[in-house]
């Protein structure tokens, strides 16, 4: 128990330092000045900000009560191909919606669908909900206990997310990303 506590405290300290450094680099890029006054203000601001953010980064697991998940514990390397895939999906889907809007008959068929995806990491839920909303044709209306309520513009958009059998491509990919079934 004490060992476990010690390692988690150490991980938190490392995270604190990394977040402070990242915030300082961000400050430095935005300010673009190298005199002492601006650098000192930047260091102090970065440290205070990451100190205030400490409790926000400890997330409660959504399935297992009492378990705590660190928000910074992300599969960063696996995220990169996912982001490129998502960008391509966004472009494709945007062209589809543009065609729908410009079509004189406007063949839309809005409907609400629900599907369940149980993942324990809240960050995974946030990523999935954000990706769904980002892809045109679908909006995440509500997420409660892993049940997603989606408003879809067309039937095919709804079916691509929540097919009759099995699971849509996007939830599967996000699940794989976070090593959840």
């Amino acid at each position: 128990m004490s060992v476990n506590n010690g390692t988690s405290r150490r991980a938190e300290l490392i995270q604190f330092v990394v977040l402070s450094l990242a915030l300082f680099v961000f400050w430095f890029i935005l300010s673009g000045r190298t005199d002492a006054k601006h650098i000192i203000i930047g260091i102090v601001t970065a440290i205070v900000t990451s100190w205030i953010c400490r409790p926000v980064l400890r997330l409660k697991s959504t399935t297992n009560r009492g378990e705590v998940i660190a928000a910074y514990n992300l599969p960063y390397i696996k995220l990169i191909p996912y982001i490129f895939w998502l960008l391509w999906e966004v472009v494709k889907a945007n062209i589809d919606v543009a065609l729908l809007v410009l079509n004189p008959k406007m063949p839309i068929e809005p409907l609400m669908v629900k599907f369940k995806k149980s993942m324990s990491n809240p960050v995974a839920h946030a990523l999935l909900a954000n990706s769904i909303t980002l892809t045109p044709g679908t909006i995440t209306v509500d997420v409660q206990d892993g049940v997603y309520t989606i408003h879809a513009l067309t039937k095919s958009a709804a079916l691509s997310l929540a097919p009759e059998k099995g699971e849509g491509e996007m939830p599967t990919r996000v699940g794989k990303l976070f090593n959840e079934k």
């Binding site: 890029i29 543009a98 410009l102 909006i139």
Partner: protein, 99 residues
């Protein structure tokens, strides 16, 4: 390089225009949210990427890319909050009649 920038700027212009037309043409709150919330994300992002390419690689284009990243993170959240507020206050989604 200027032609690539022009391509991105025109693409952004196209998607933003389509989003505006969609807001006018679609029938109810949720479908209008589809048009405004997402056409804008790609439209504005493409415009800003076009500006960054036109500007060449320096600190200003790096800052512009930060704006793109934050738009991609924040715009879906705004869309989601609006749609959830509408859903919880009981707005019924429009459905095509005569099926």
């Amino acid at each position: 390089m200027k032609f690539v920038a022009l391509f991105f700027l025109l693409g952004g212009f196209f998607f933003t225009t389509v989003a505006a037309i969609g807001v006018i043409r679609f029938p109810d709150f949720y479908t209008r949210l589809h048009a405004s919330g997402k056409g804008d994300t790609l439209g504005v992002a493409m415009s800003i990427i076009g500006l960054a390419i036109y500007n060449g690689f320096n600190l200003i284009s790096l800052k512009l890319m930060f704006i793109v990243v934050f738009i991609f993170l924040a715009n879906p959240i705004g869309t989601h909050v609006l749609s959830r507020a509408a859903y919880r206050s009981g707005i019924k989604p429009w459905v095509r009649k005569g099926e």
